[in-house]
Amino acid sequence: MIQHRIECVDIGSEYCPCHLAETNDCLICSHLQGKEFCDCNWRGVCVYQEYVWNGNKSKNLRSETVCKIEEKIEYKSNLTILKIKTSRTLSRQLKEPGAYVFLRDVKLPHYYDVPMSVMDADDMNGYIYIAYQTIGAKTKMLKKLNNEVLVRGPFWNGLIGIKYIKSTRNKNCLILARGIAQAPTLAVIRKLDRNGCNLKVILDKGKIGEIFLSKYLKDLEIDYTEIDLMKNEGKLLINNILAKETYELVYIGGSDLLQKHILSLLEKNNCNSNLVITNNEKFCCGEGICGSCTTFTENGELIKTCKSQMDVKKTVERRNMLG
């Protein structure tokens, strides 16, 4: 019978097996869930083998590094873009769509760690670019940063459906993003563009009031349409686009509400594209330990969303169920 198939975004990486293996809570390996026999679906070097070779211990956690803030651009309406100097290794690790880091003031305790999508990474010179919106206690403290910031990473599960971004080549793709969710969208656009895809990009200022991707898209020579996706005009535009063209992949960057709204439009238009969405869960540790990102699927299965890749529709269905 169909079992819900989740994939761990960290599997096979230098951070696997993680400490979840030590407590028999590995997301993938049946042996490291306390079972007797193999029952996984991982197509790479065995997690259990790596664990035993590592002396029955987990591998290293992500390190924290104090990094210099090279540039800070503040926009109206609470948008800030940081240019942060990192090692070239870290910026290379963060170049993938879905990459994120935790940031905080060096002087503050760890519970001020705030997860931030990496908008752009320059691995030649070792820089990452973060765009954030000041909303609550953590981001307000970020706003006070001057020259230095504590960076913990790399993490990779900022998007759900990452495999489709990696595998889609030379196809039509529809990219929709609103507000601050433009930030994780740039890496998606870069990757799909490199993969030879034909991109239809629709951006919405949202509450942030800026299309801050415009200069990046200009450099990439990618056109975009600006519209309010939550209003009727947005709905009409999407209906019109879907009537004219079929898309192999649809990306939705934005709130749960936006994702739900767009998914219902896709459904009404009988659109069966592969879906990629921003992962909107609340992360605190990013290591699957703290429990803040833990949710349950409809059949009661526990999902640690900071590490798990799962079916996009199931993710949104669950959120709708709760919402």
Binding site: M1, I2, R5, E36, R43, G44, V52
Partner: protein, 426 residues
């Protein structure tokens, strides 16, 4: 037309596909790697001891094609080595393309590098199988021939770790028990000490790495026997093996090499530095598994409960064959159980009574005997093969063993089963 989905392209899957096709099924064969035959790509021993009888019985039943191919691909025929007579050694480097071409010629649709990871059920029937790429394939009847070897975690927990065998789990993904996915618990084989699973029983040396003298003798005679230095003789190792037909004193005291294209070394694994102490093997290196100096694959951790017509108990439209269907060892055992499962798949789709081979044929007796034994604690520690060990003794006692082709044909004819696999039911 009945759509028959065979999951697993080893010898038993290929055999099931052939007889299902011959009985009129529309057959799709799904294999996770890029080659058919699975462990058949590294085995090669046919027709030794009672396997001769079983091969001829299957031929008389109408399942001759795959045996014709292994006979045609033979490097050596009528080879004797300790405890074994009249073996045929097929060339493992030639046989897979021959089988693949034949299957394609008769219209079997082969899906390579497609791995089944789940099933969609309708009550106690399988509606479709789910592949690792999230696509589904629906069918009327399903035959599971996924074997019982690996994957890596099992080879580590119950063996010496992944030895990089022909199944190549890290490249193509792990074997998944389809019957378990469909809701039926697996049966597990045990070793003498009641630990689970068993090591595959042989490895392959690169023939070019052996001395010219050994190479020549292998090419000419098919067998080379080299004594092991006294200090390195290890009788305990015989208990590890799945192939109890080769767990003989001779195999502990000697290195027995058979020519199957590579030099087949009749031991689960053998440390390279010890191996290189033996004259002629000074430069030896492993061909399969690549880490044959350290370990071998672990098998028998995933057997489905079945009846003697090869239908899985508890699932309405699932049959099984090969190692998935019992503690069987060998290509012949895989082919004969696969042939029966394939034929019965079309019968099952038509609601016909399933064929059960009578126990006065070696094949029928092995299938029934292994099924009786697997229900006992002691039986779980044994392996069942026409080639030796307990079952070959039984074959001789019951007068089932013969190499007289006419006699075998007479037996099959007397049971009115001659060429039954040739009958087109649809």
């Amino acid at each position: 037309m009945a759509r028959i989905i065979v999951i697993g392209g080893g010898w038993s899957g290929c055999a099931a596909a052939v007889t299902a096709k011959k009985a009129g099924g529309d057959v799709i064969l799904i294999e996770k790697t890029d080659m058919l035959l699975g462990l058949g790509n590294v085995g090669g021993i046919m027709r030794n001891n009672g396997r001769y009888t079983a091969a001829e019985e299957n031929i008389c039943l109408g399942g001759q094609e795959l045996f014709n191919i292994t006979d045609k691909a033979a490097r050596h025929v009528n080879v004797n080595f300790p405890g074994h007579k009249h073996a045929t050694l097929y060339d493992v480097t030639k046989v897979e393309p021959m089988v693949r071409r034949f299957l394609e010629e008769i219209g079997i649709k082969i899906l390579l590098q497609k791995r089944v990871i789940d099933v969609e059920m309708d009550n106690k029937s399988i509606k479709s199988v789910v592949l690792s790429d999230d696509t589904t394939i629906s069918g009327d009847i399903f035959i599971e021939t996924t074997g019982s070897t690996g994957p890596m975690g099992n080879c580590l927990k119950y063996g010496n770790g992944c030895s990089m065998c022909i199944l190549r789990c890290p490249s193509f993904g792990p074997r998944i028990s389809i019957s378990k996915r469909a809701g039926v618990e697996d049966i597990l084989g045990q070793r003498g000490d009641e630990s689970y699973g068993a090591f595959s029983g042989s490895c392959k040396l690169n023939k070019e790495s052996l001395s010219e003298e050994i190479r020549e003798k292998l090419n000419k005679e098919g067998v080379v026997i080299l004594p092991i230095p006294k200090e390195d003789i290890n009788f305990d190792k015989l208990n590890l093996k799945v192939c109890q037909q080769y767990a003989l004193k001779d195999f502990a005291e000697n290195i027995i090499l058979l020519d199957t294209g590579h030099a087949k070394l009749m031991t689960p694994y053998y440390p390279l530095e010890k191996l290189r102490k033996i004259k002629g093997l000074e430069n030896a290196r492993y061909e399969d598994p690549y880490s044959g100096g350290k370990g071998n694959s672990i098998r028998y951790l995933s057997i489905a409960p079945r009846n003697n017509a090869m239908k899985v108990i508890g699932i309405d439209n699932l049959l099984c064959a090969g190692e998935k269907s019992g503690l069987f060892v060998g290509h012949t055992e895989a082919i004969v159980t696969g042939s029966l499962a394939g034929h019965n798949s079309v019968r099952l789709s038509l609601g016909m009574p399933l064929l059960e081979l009578p126990r006065n044929l070696a094949i029928g007796d092995l299938i029934a005997y292994a099924n009786e034994q697997i229900k006992t604690k002691e039986g779980l520690k044994k392996r069942y093969t026409f080639a030796g060990s307990e079952y070959f003794e039984r074959m001789k006692e019951k007068d089932l063993y013969t190499i007289d082709k006419k006699e075998i044909k007479r037996r099959v004819q007397r049971l009115d089963l001659l060429n039954i696999y040739e009958e087109k039911l649809l």
